[in-house]
């Protein structure tokens, strides 16, 4: 099954020439900061077997910004971010076409080792999934397998710094040996963020990181974004309009496999160009 081709005025504006990529989508702020593109998708199609999940996605993700992907369930947001660290590789029958470029390199290029890629593109999942190990070992796992610490002191430093950046250190400093699964849901999710940033990735993918959390835990994680984006490029999938509006600089609206509209968050929420986007952000559908 393939999706019907969709005439998309917004997408048409995107050029395939990367030197001109910044043109039509740059806001005044962007021009001032001259934010370069970290990731750019050009004509990305994703298939699960015969079923097409994403059709011709053209999207630019900017460095040191939080980009929200919004849209109704099953519209392909998660599928898209799972392409960026090639987590789709483990799904049987999943096929990706098109160009997905991370810093001048095609993520699906023949020379790219997904293991190495995932060290550059970290991911936090919808449901907190700490390893059934101690808090310390959870965070230390990545640096250990990549050999990032030469000795115990260096490893300690990485672990403490990561926990601190994830806003969890104060709560767990005295019980680093306690199992990671003994923490509350919100703490577990911050532990997963600490685990992801312990290997200092360039990009952080978050697949509905707050959907299993209460508002207080959500607020704590949202506070992190502003801090984390100084170092990382963050892409977040969310079902909460308010969250997208609060935390992100840019927003992309997906609708059954198509990217309908992308732009500055303020623009998308105040003056969307497409009717479907307007209906969705106004709460009329989805």
């Amino acid at each position: 099954m393939t999706l019907p081709a969709l005439k998309n005025p917004v997408q048409e504006d995107l050029t395939d020439d990367r030197s001109q990529v910044f043109g039509p989508f740059l806001s005044k702020d962007d021009l001032v900061n001259s934010t370069p593109v970290k990731i750019s998708a050009r004509g990305v199609n994703v298939f699960y077997g015969d079923k097409q999940a994403l059709q011709d996605i053209k999207l630019d993700i900017f460095r040191n910004q939080v980009t929200s992907l919004i849209g109704p369930s099953g519209c392909g947001k998660s599928t898209f971010i799972r392409c960026i660290n090639r987590m789709n590789d483990v799904i049987e029958g999943c096929r990706v076409e098109g160009e997905l470029i991370l810093d001048n390199e095609n993520i699906y290029g023949p020379d790219v080792d997904p293991v190495q890629l995932r060290a550059r593109v970290g991911m936090v999942f919808q449901k907190p999934n700490p390893f059934p190990k101690s808090i310390y070992d959870n965070v230390a796992y990545g640096p250990r397998i990549h050999g990032l610490a030469r000795n115990k002191d260096e490893l300690d430093e990485i672990v403490f710094k990561s926990l601190d950046n994830a806003g969890l250190l104060g709560e767990v400093r005295d019980r680093m040996k306690a199992p990671g699964t003994s923490l509350s849901g919100g703490q577990q999710q911050r532990l997963c963020i600490a685990r992801a940033i312990a290997i200092e990735p360039e990009v952080l993918l978050m697949d509905e990181p707050c959907s299993a959390l209460d508002p207080i835990a959500t607020a704590r994680i949202e506070e992190l974004f502003e801090r984390l984006r100084k170092k990382y490029t963050i892409i977040i999938v969310t079902h909460s309009m308010q969250q997208a509006a609060r935390v992100s600089q840019r927003t992309a609206y997906f609708h059954i496999g198509h990217l309908v509209e992308q732009g500055d968050t303020s623009k998308i929420f105040t003056e969307p160009r497409d009717k479907r986007t307007r209906d969705y952000v106004m709460g009329r559908i989805g």
């Binding site: 293991v115 999942f125 397998i145 199992p179 685990r195």
Partner: protein, 408 residues
């Protein structure tokens, strides 16, 4: 009628159905326990006798002439003649000699070898009674057709003088098979079983776990893996004697490995256990939540690291359970061992994996086939030993599982 009334009317029927089901459940469990209880009681009652052995006290004058002729049986006979001087006829004498076991002479020989100074002196020895006397003494002296009236009188005389008693039958655990029930023991079979289990575990567990890991975590899901999966499932259901035939054809006839050896026995049992371990291992791996795999992969662990650092340790309790189910089945298996010659009459206790041996279930099978009455209790006792072995293995499995289990 409103819905509420309608539902209320139906409630008693639903409660009755619930109660009925619970009753059937409890009844099923009770009958299961009852059968188990009957089985264990009958085996224990039958087998308990084998753990004690009747011994007779003899005053034996160690005659240097007979010792030099190595006629230790003669020494025992002389001692018996001295105790009952009135017996003079040849037939009666033979009956008298049959009171004590042939093992008495062996024991005497061992004593002389250990301490040659006793030659020429008179020693007091407790020697094992023959199987018929043993049975008669342990189970009451009346109603035993296998002993003559005269023999019964002699037994009464001896026990009246306090010269007959029962003691713990240590020989049952230290000696091999014998034609004489009072001398037969499970040592050969027990050692053979232990050796076979070690070989079986050492082969089947790593092979099975590796196969399960590869099929579940690495192999592409295509027609070939499906074909292999179907075949593994079929292998688990193949009658065990077929594995025996395979072992006979390959290990004995082609590779010319020794017959009756625990090594070959263990290899055949490993073939049989392998599918069970693979199937259990795969389902244990499948039960590990995919989120753990994703978590590991997302921090840049390679597929191999993901499996060995996270998936396999979490699946280990399930793998251990599967392995122990497979091993328990292998421990009780007779048929494949018959095919590779582990059914032989073997007296010597094996010291290596290549020495001839039997296994416990085979020993049970052999003794159950023997005509002597005394082998009946030996059979039950061997079954008890087998059950205790099984229990120990299961306990080890529980301990290991507890050790591997991550409880948080």
């Amino acid at each position: 009628m409103s819905n509420v009334e309608h539902i209320e009317k139906g409630m008693p029927r639903r409660h009755r159905a619930e109660k009925r089901f619970r009753f059937f459940g409890v009844a099923a469990i009770c009958s299961g326990l009852l059968f188990l209880g009957v089985m264990f009681t009958s085996i224990i009652i039958k087998g308990a006798g084998a753990f004690s052995q009747t011994v007779v006290r003899l005053e034996i004058a160690v005659d240097p002439d007979l010792v030099s002729g190595a006629d230790y049986a003669g020494l025992v006979k002389a001692a018996l003649r001295k105790d009952f001087p009135e017996v003079s006829e040849r037939g009666d004498k033979l009956q008298l000699y049959k009171l004590v076991s042939d093992g008495a002479a062996h024991e005497l020989r061992r004593m002389v070898v250990d301490d040659p100074k006793i030659v020429g002196k008179t020693v007091i020895v407790w020697v094992p009674a023959s199987d018929d006397v043993d049975m008669a003494f342990k189970k009451g002296l009346t109603e035993n057709r296998r002993l003559s009236d005269r023999q019964l009188i002699w037994i009464k005389t001896l026990s009246g003088k306090g010269r007959m008693e029962t003691k713990f039958n240590a020989a049952f655990f230290t000696s091999g098979d014998s034609r004489e029930p009072e001398l037969a023991g499970v040592a050969t079979a027990l050692t053979g079983s232990i050796f076979s289990m070690v070989v079986c575990l050492a082969l089947a567990l790593p092979l099975g776990v590796m196969a399960a890991v590869y099929l579940e975590e690495f192999a592409a899901k295509n027609r070939w893996t499906e074909f292999i999966e179907v075949n593994i499932n079929n292998l688990a259901a193949v009658p065990s004697i077929v594995f025996g035939l395979l072992g006979l054809a390959i290990f004995l006839n082609f590779f010319h490995l020794p017959r009756s050896a625990p090594l070959v026995g263990g290899m055949v049992l490993a073939l049989m256990t392998l599918p069970t371990i693979i199937i259990a291992g795969r389902s244990a791996l499948r039960a590990v939540p995919p989120s753990i795999r994703e978590a590991a992969l997302s921090v840049g662990a390679s597929p191999l690291q993901t499996v060995f650092h996270h998936t396999l340790p979490l699946a280990m309790p399930g793998v251990m359970t599967g392995a122990i189910i497979g091993l328990a089945r292998a421990l009780g298996e007779t048929a494949p061992l018959l095919m590779i010659g582990m059914v032989a009459f073997i007296v010597d206790i094996p010291h290596s994996l290549l020495d001839p041996a039997t296994a416990l279930p085979v020993q049970v099978f052999l003794w159950a086939d023997s005509p002597e009455r005394a082998f009946e209790e030996k059979t039950a006792a061997a079954i008890l030993v087998l059950l205790v072995f099984l229990l120990l293995m299961n306990m080890a499995a529980v301990v290991l599982r507890k050790k591997f289990e991550i409880r948080w």
